[in-house]
């Protein structure tokens, strides 16, 4: 691949870059993860096990970690609130687990991904970056994650999906940014008359006649 999509993702999420990043029209310096979070971004990373889940911890302990304000009062973390939050997301994202203490490394790929998404949602960010959100999960779980993304968009969130699967792009996206060899080729709107051949040629780096 090497199209540069993960690099774009990194630049938006804590990696210093030379260019200008504007979030909701305002120029921001996002050279630190915490600045990106503050600017209203959150990331569902590509490497779920290496960078997404806290494998040794249970679902209850995983979900609040991006935004502990929700489970804290007067300086102390409230177990009741942790439980409430975990139950809410286990229900909302249909996470299949024995109970909220289920160790996350022992969940299936799709359920682990849902825990990572729940962790991001608890942050209540307006813009959620998802790098290969359905890699390594099976067909059913993929459909579920797609449904979650559509629902989030329905709630007014912006989701930026970084993917190399054409099918996913066609099913999910409103606008499609095509990249090849580290550069943006074109931004095309999705719709019934979408030309998938055109997309494939673009991301394969072929010259397009105007």
């Amino acid at each position: 691949m090497g199209a540069g999509k993960t690099e774009v993702c990194e630049i938006l999420y804590g990696h210093p870059c030379a260019g200008e990043i504007r979030v909701k029209g305002k120029a921001k310096r996002l050279d630190d993860v915490r600045k990106s979070l503050k600017a209203g971004l959150a990331l569902v990373p590509e490497e779920r096990r290496e960078a997404g889940i806290f494998g040794l911890l249970g679902i209850r302990q995983n979900i609040p970690l991006m935004n502990m304000a929700n489970v804290k009062s007067r300086g102390l973390v409230r177990r009741v609130e942790e439980n409430r939050l975990a139950d809410h997301y286990i229900d909302a994202l249909s996470i299949a687990a024995r109970d909220r203490e289920h160790q996350v490394s022992l969940l299936s790929g799709g359920n682990q991904q849902n825990v990572v998404i729940a962790k991001c949602l608890n942050r209540d960010s307006d813009i959620i970056l998802m790098d290969e959100p359905t890699r390594g999960v099976d067909v059913g779980a993929k459909q579920e994650i797609h449904d979650i993304i559509r629902e989030l968009v329905g709630q007014g969130k912006s989701i930026i999906v970084f993917t190399s699967e054409l099918q996913e792009v066609v099913q999910l996206c409103d606008r499609i940014a095509l990249m090849y060899d580290g550069a943006l080729r074109e931004i095309v709107p999705n719709g019934p008359d979408l030309d998938t051949d055109h997309i494939m040629k673009n991301v394969a780096g072929e010259e397009i006649e105007a």
């Binding site: 249970g58 609040p64 102390l76 973390v77 249909s94 299949a96 969940l107």
Partner: protein
């Protein structure tokens, strides 16, 4: 779905087994020696263990992040000697203690900065600081333990009583409660566990990994330094060679208590019970006139057994799962009973 053991469940039972071992040891020594099962002896043991409990509690929290501090015992020796020297020089004890704590904190700052800013492995960084600390402890007192010229009230800290309880026991009680609350009920504790479980995920979740790690290195150094002051008060001297056994006891307490070197989980209660086991074994064997050298060997054996147990918990965990492997599930939430 079948009844399965979550990790907290396993840990709880591991702590419970430790507790049973502690009780069994008490019964064993009570039967073997007439002097063991006496209130005075228990007060004595708790007094002796107060320094160990404090340092081990702090070090457990640090170990949850996957870091550890080999220099804690050297810090204790250095702090004890420095405190005795300052007291012998005529400084008020409170001032001497504050200066000592500040110097001891320096160990934590250096350790923390070496690990977080210069990304040196905690093993190398704190091993270096252990050598430096041991050397410093010997240098400042010329290799001789500081005994002469100490003020009369030098030992008061460890001998005084408050509300009918010896002060060192109270200090240990307050300190351990504090670290339990920090671990289980505050952001620092939650973040420490998260960092040990997955450092990358912690960074991407916006957790200030370096600040938490640095802070915990400083906390361990402070507790080690306080332990040095308490130990100096207890033995009535600043002894630069006090560290040997202390170091071993801290390591055995944490490992036996169920906190792995790699972090990600851990238990303050487990550490405290394990520390009491170490203390009871030391005290009990002394009463049976077992040489301290043999005690060292026994503690070494305990450490290895503890590591094997820890390894078993870790390796055993996945097989306890009733969930199918990651690549097979995900599609089947409907087949699972709702909780």
């Amino acid at each position: 779905m079948k009844q399965t053991g979550t990790l907290p469940g396993v840990m709880k039972s591991q702590t419970f087994i430790l507790f049973l071992v502690l009780i069994a040891l008490n019964i064993f020594f009570a039967l073997m020696s007439d002097h063991f099962l006496q209130l005075g002896n228990y007060f004595n043991m708790l007094k002796q263990s107060s320094a160990l409990l404090l340092t081990a509690a702090a070090a457990t929290m640090l170990m949850m992040t996957g870091n550890f501090d080999l220099s804690a015992s050297a810090n204790l020796a250095f702090s004890g000697v420095l405190y005795a020297l300052l007291a012998a020089a005529g400084l008020p004890l409170l001032l001497a203690a504050l200066i000592t704590l500040a110097a001891g904190m320096g160990f934590g700052l250096i350790n923390g900065l070496l690990v977080t800013r210069w990304e040196i492995s905690p093993f190398i960084a704190t091993l270096g600081m252990m050598f430096i600390g041991n050397g410093l402890a010997l240098v400042v007192c010329g290799g001789q333990s500081v005994r002469s010229g100490l003020p009369e009230n030098f030992r008061d800290l460890m001998n005084a009583e408050l509300l009918g309880l010896p002060v060192p026991i109270l200090i240990a009680l307050v300190g351990c409660t504090l670290f339990w609350v920090l671990t289980n009920r505050t952001l620092i504790g939650k973040y420490a566990m998260a960092i040990g479980s997955n450092r990358n995920a912690a960074l991407l979740s916006g957790i200030n990994v370096n600040a938490i790690t640095l802070g915990l290195f400083v906390a361990v150094a402070l507790m080690a330094s306080l332990s040095g002051i308490m130990t100096a008060s207890r033995i009535g001297a600043g002894d630069p060679r006090i560290y040997e056994f202390f170091f071993m006891d801290v390591v055995v307490a944490i490992m036996l208590g169920g906190t792995p070197l790699s972090g990600g989980r851990g238990s303050i209660i487990g550490t405290l019970i394990a520390a009491m086991i170490v203390i009871v074994i030391g005290n009990g064997l002394s009463m049976l006139n077992v040489l301290i050298f043999w005690q060292t060997i026994i503690k070494g054996v305990i450490l290895i057994v503890a590591m094997i147990l820890n390894q078993k918990v870790k390796l055993g965990a996945p097989s306890r799962s009733a969930m199918p492997p990651a690549d097979q599930l995900g599609a089947a939430p409907a087949s699972l009973p709702a909780q």
